[in-house]
């Protein structure tokens, strides 16, 4: 009942000083708005990366050479290359849970044909590759077992490469020179879009790995083996199976660590999520500083307000207010101002996130927990930074306060 009266007194005082209230709130409004926009940008990025990773295929397992350090970071993967085509063949033969296995050999190359030149990556893969990546051929056909066995010079172009060299024309049946070796184009891949990191997945040429090995890479070792399971549920067991087969294949003794790394999409997603989480935190931290500055603004204005209203405080004390009554009044004032600022800040945050998303094309996701947290935090800022001025007001000597000019 008594606090209710004090709240009323505080609200009246806020209403009587609209300009001061608005200026005080401004800092909090900007702070809360900034936090919400920044977190929205971070969450948007995270969501987009997740979508992209899902897009790679959830059943996919990636096998790379080199050991994994604790924490999941691949240590010098590829520097000590111990994967071979034989490994891929053994996996394909012996692993019961894998529905598809393909070695991947990367070779950068200049391609001539159609209307000009194009520098791109030529990936040597097996017949299973389209299954693993869930990648259709839009025009023509993928190479077949005969092409692979005979290491024929056939190529399937990514959509970007096809467009760059042949425009709207269908390149199937045409010829291109890859590192001055003539290849026949037998197919064009469907458009796949960008990866999580923004790379163009369609800027690629696929060829039989046998051909790439003999004509372009000339290496015995391969940098990557891709595999797929029938369903995502099989992934953990399949990864164990791959490990067991690979350890045997590489003749590793029981005390030796794996000399290869097996990962799935969930691992990649987690790693990417970790990165965006750090980024989100960083953005939120920077924005929180503005909230802190807003809080200091509240303290500043409240201190000025206490000085300005010394006489008022003296009058209230003279007619019987306790120090605690004065304290509560000023605390309620600062808290209500901060919370109101927070509320307006939430609106600004929503609008800002939408506007920024519209202007930049980024995804922005305003999350309710962030909004709740920002609101609670702004009220907390009001209490925290209002405390010192409120205590100062409560401890005023009534005689001196009354005499104050």
């Amino acid at each position: 009942m008594r606090t209710l009266v004090l709240v009323k007194v505080a609200l009246q005082s806020i209403r009587k000083n609209t300009l001061r209230t608005a200026l005080t709130m401004l800092g909090i409004i900007i702070g809360v708005g900034a936090v919400i926009v920044m977190v929205a940008v971070g969450l948007g990025a995270k969501q987009r990366i997740n979508e992209k990773i899902q897009n790679l295929g959830t059943n996919m397992i990636v096998l790379t050479p080199g050991a994994t350090a604790p924490g999941g970071v691949s240590q010098g993967a590829g520097s000590f290359n111990r994967l071979t085509v034989a490994d891929a063949e053994v996996l394909r033969r012996e692993a019961t849970l894998l529905t598809a296995v393909s070695p991947v050999i990367f070779a950068g190359a200049n391609i001539q044909g159609g209307t000009g030149n194009w520098r791109t990556a030529v990936n040597g893969v097996s017949l299973d590759f389209p299954v693993i990546r869930d990648w259709r051929v839009a025009s023509g056909a993928f190479f077949d077992a005969g092409d692979l066995r005979a290491a024929r010079k056939v190529a399937v172009l990514g959509a970007t490469v096809a467009r760059s060299l042949f425009g709207d024309q269908d390149p199937v049946g045409q010829e291109v020179q890859i590192r001055n070796v003539p290849f026949r184009i037998i197919g064009v891949l469907a458009e796949k879009g960008q990866t999580a990191t923004g790379a163009d997945q369609d800027d690629v040429v696929l060829a039989p790995y046998t051909t790439v090995q003999t004509r372009l890479a000339g290496r015995q070792f391969i940098p990557q083996i891709l595999a797929a399971t029938a369903s995502p549920a099989d992934i953990p067991a399949a990864m164990e199976e791959i490990r067991a087969i690979m350890r045997q294949q590489h003749r590793l003794a029981s005390w030796e660590d794996d000399d290869f790394t097996v990962r799935n999409q969930a691992d990649l997603a987690a790693a990417a999520e970790g990165t965006t989480e750090v980024m989100t935190m960083l953005l939120a931290a920077i924005a929180s500083i503005s909230l802190l500055v807003g809080g200091i603004g509240i303290m500043n204005i409240m201190l000025v307000s206490v000085t300005e209203r010394t006489r008022e405080i003296g009058i209230r004390l003279a007619v019987g207010a306790h120090g605690s009554d004065i304290m509560v009044q000023f605390l309620v004032e600062s808290t209500v101002m901060a919370a109101l600022g927070g509320l307006v800040g939430v609106g600004v945050g929503y609008a800002g996130a939408a506007l920024l998303g519209h202007a930049t094309g980024w995804d922005t996701v305003v999350s309710p927990p962030t909004v709740a947290l920002a609101l609670a935090f702004s009220a907390g800022v009001g209490i925290f930074f209002g405390f010192y001025p409120a205590r100062k007001a409560a401890n005023l000597n009534p005689i001196e306060a009354l005499r104050y000019e």
């Binding site: 003296g314 007619v319 005689i399």
Partner: protein, 250 residues
């Protein structure tokens, strides 16, 4: 009739410390004021009038000596206890009115009731209106102080002092900021309230004002040097009607 003195001080002293020098503002005051009295405290500047009033008003504690208000000792009370006494038993009227700006007359008068610890808050609105009516400002309830004349502002302050029905009304130079006519109006109001039974202690420099009270206590250097009844108190209301105070005579 209740004979408990409203004010009873014994050997009251107040010493301020200014750096290393002591300022003896009060040097032993013995004063008893009975219910229904109207006392003027006079004295030169620096004689200790305000210091004394602050102690009587429970805004300050004496350095030594005792002060009983309405039979209750105030010795050793803390800030909050003193605040409660001010709220229940005392009404203040200041030279500078001390009203809350940007707050209506009614809200100003209601203020002490907001801080009342008893149930009086419930009827705060009506009590405040009644107090305003008592000082003749019922029709100005929703005016803000800057929309009122000095005399009206002081009457709002008096209404605020009356609203809790205090045992004692304390006024430190209540007419100091007013011209002689409005000052006289305020005095007439005090006389009327005193006739209704309210005990009033008023500080003033001027003999012209003191002669409307019924007892004059004179201070010099923190001591009482005179304490006399006013033989023939003036009647402020009647004098207001005399030619000297008619507007056209000015």
């Amino acid at each position: 009739m209740n004979t408990t003195p409203v004010i009873r001080t014994r050997a009251l002293t107040k010493t301020y410390l200014m750096g290393s020098t002591q300022v003896h503002a009060l040097r032993g005051i013995d004063l008893t004021v009975s219910p229904g009295e109207f006392v003027a405290i006079m004295g030169a500047s620096g004689s200790g009038k305000s210091t004394f009033m602050n102690i009587l008003g429970c805004l300050d504690q004496p350095t030594s000596g005792s002060y009983e208000l309405d039979g209750e000792s105030t010795a050793g009370l803390d800030r909050d206890a003193l605040a409660d006494i001010r709220n229940r038993k005392l009404g203040f009227v200041f030279q500078g009115f001390n009203l809350l700006a940007r707050t209506s007359a009614l809200d100003n008068v209601e203020l002490p009731l907001l801080y009342a610890r008893s149930g009086r808050r419930r009827a705060a609105r009506e009590l405040a209106l009644a107090a305003l009516a008592r000082v003749g400002l019922a029709d100005r309830a929703h005016h803000h102080p800057n929309e009122l004349s000095g005399g009206q502002q002081q009457r709002v302050a008096i209404a605020r002092a009356l609203v809790t029905e205090p045992t004692l009304l304390l006024a430190d130079e209540p007419t100091g900021n007013l011209d002689s006519r409005t000052g006289m109006e305020v005095l007439a109001l005090f006389q009327e309230l005193n006739r209704q039974g309210i005990t009033i202690v008023l500080v003033t420099h001027e003999h012209d004002i003191a002669r409307y009270t019924r007892r004059v206590v004179e201070l010099r250097d923190g001591r009482i040097i005179g304490d006399d009844p006013v033989s023939q108190p003036g009647d402020a209301a009647a004098d207001l009607a005399s030619p000297a105070f008619l507007p056209q005579a000015v």
